[in-house]
Amino acid sequence: MTDQDNSYRPQSPDFSTFHSPISPVPPSYPLAHRASYDASPFFTPQYQNQPPPPPPLSRVPQQYVPPPSFPDSDLDPDMARRSSRLARAAEVAPMAPMAPLPSMAPMAPLEPLPPMPPVAPMPEAKYIEPVMAEEPPKPMIPTAIEVRTKFPVARIKRIMQADEDVGKVAQVTPIAVSKALELFMISLVTKAAKEAKDRNSKRVTASHLKQAVVKDEVLDFLADIIAKVPDQPASRKHDDDGSDENAPPKRKRGGRRPKDESD
């Protein structure tokens, strides 16, 4: 249901532009019905926020084609299929041989366009993808998040060398650490976001982050830091800040908890 809505969402403006050619079609025509259904403003507002996944466009034009000036509606889907085959075969101008049919004109740009621009050199291999798999962007599982913003490497090197024991650092090392940090951040943020979601909160707070850290053994080294975070979300007070501000620079070995090492 939602899938369908999504897939049609980005299309709504297209339909409106195409409305005029359709209009001659009697309202009883089932496919025309659908088109107007999709274009109804009823759903539009909510879904506009969502990043439009490459919609299964190939399907849309097929439903679309029949209406205008075509008595033989059975022919058109056939044409569409054939034309897509042609597109694969000929790479360019799939409609050229079909030119005699005026109704194909609006469809021609629609079909090859979405897959073409990114794959101009070899459309054959990738052209099929959007047709078969409807949601290529879906595999955006948390671990596959790509972060384009990079940390300043110099800063990371300085943080590394703030530890007096750490001596020279190879040129690549801060870059490697920076990547590791990026992955670390992704995992922390997604975990905290999940905690928030489980509690029906739209705001990811420090205590959600704390919950995420507590759950993961690997993150034990953060126990020190999260200890000062209260479990309740209401943590507006900065009582601890005075003492904490002095603390971070003095900490040499972050991994150890004071409990373990207290003398």
């Binding site: 943080i159 060398q161 040129q171 920076s178 992955l183 943020v189 420090a206």
Partner: protein, 142 residues
């Protein structure tokens, strides 16, 4: 030393704007979730802690090998020892990419040397080009 301790306070955390940007990339507005400021500040502290942890672990490893410089492989092993082995493939890929970039940069730098001409010779050629361009320019409009 004392100088370092004072001035470092600010330098020793990550830039807020960058962290915020990355958070928004991970949790885009379309996800419907917002990351609060206190969570971000905490996250930043955690990040610094993470860097410190990795680098001190890598440092220990390199010291055991009697190496004076922390290399990528030490970071790799530190990640492994600390339970972040999932990160290793990506980290290595980035390190490799960087090495490739360095190589190509070196090549570019040595282009002048590869030309096999002395600096004077190159300068002379440049002057020659300038002169011919000037001549063409003066002749052109007529």
């Amino acid at each position: 030393m004392s100088d370092r301790e004072f001035s470092s306070n600010d330098d020793l955390s990550l830039p807020k704007a960058t962290v915020q940007k990355i958070i928004t990339e991970i949790l885009p507005p379309s996800s419907g979730q917002a990351f609060s400021k206190d969570a971000r500040d905490l996250l930043m502290e955690c990040c610094v802690e993470f860097i410190t942890l990795i680098s001190s672990e890598a440092n220990e490893i390199s010291e055991k090998e009697a190496k004076k410089t922390i290399a990528c492989e030490h970071v790799e092993r530190a990640l492994n020892d600390l339970g972040f082995s999932d990160y290793i493939p990506d980290v290595l890929a980035v390190a490799e990419e960087h090495k490739e970039q360095l190589k190509s940069r070196e090549k570019k730098q040595s282009k002048m040397e590869q030309s096999g001409l002395s600096e004077e010779e190159l300068l002379r050629q440049q002057q020659e080009l300038f002169r011919s361009a000037t001549e063409k320019y003066h002749q052109g409009p007529e």
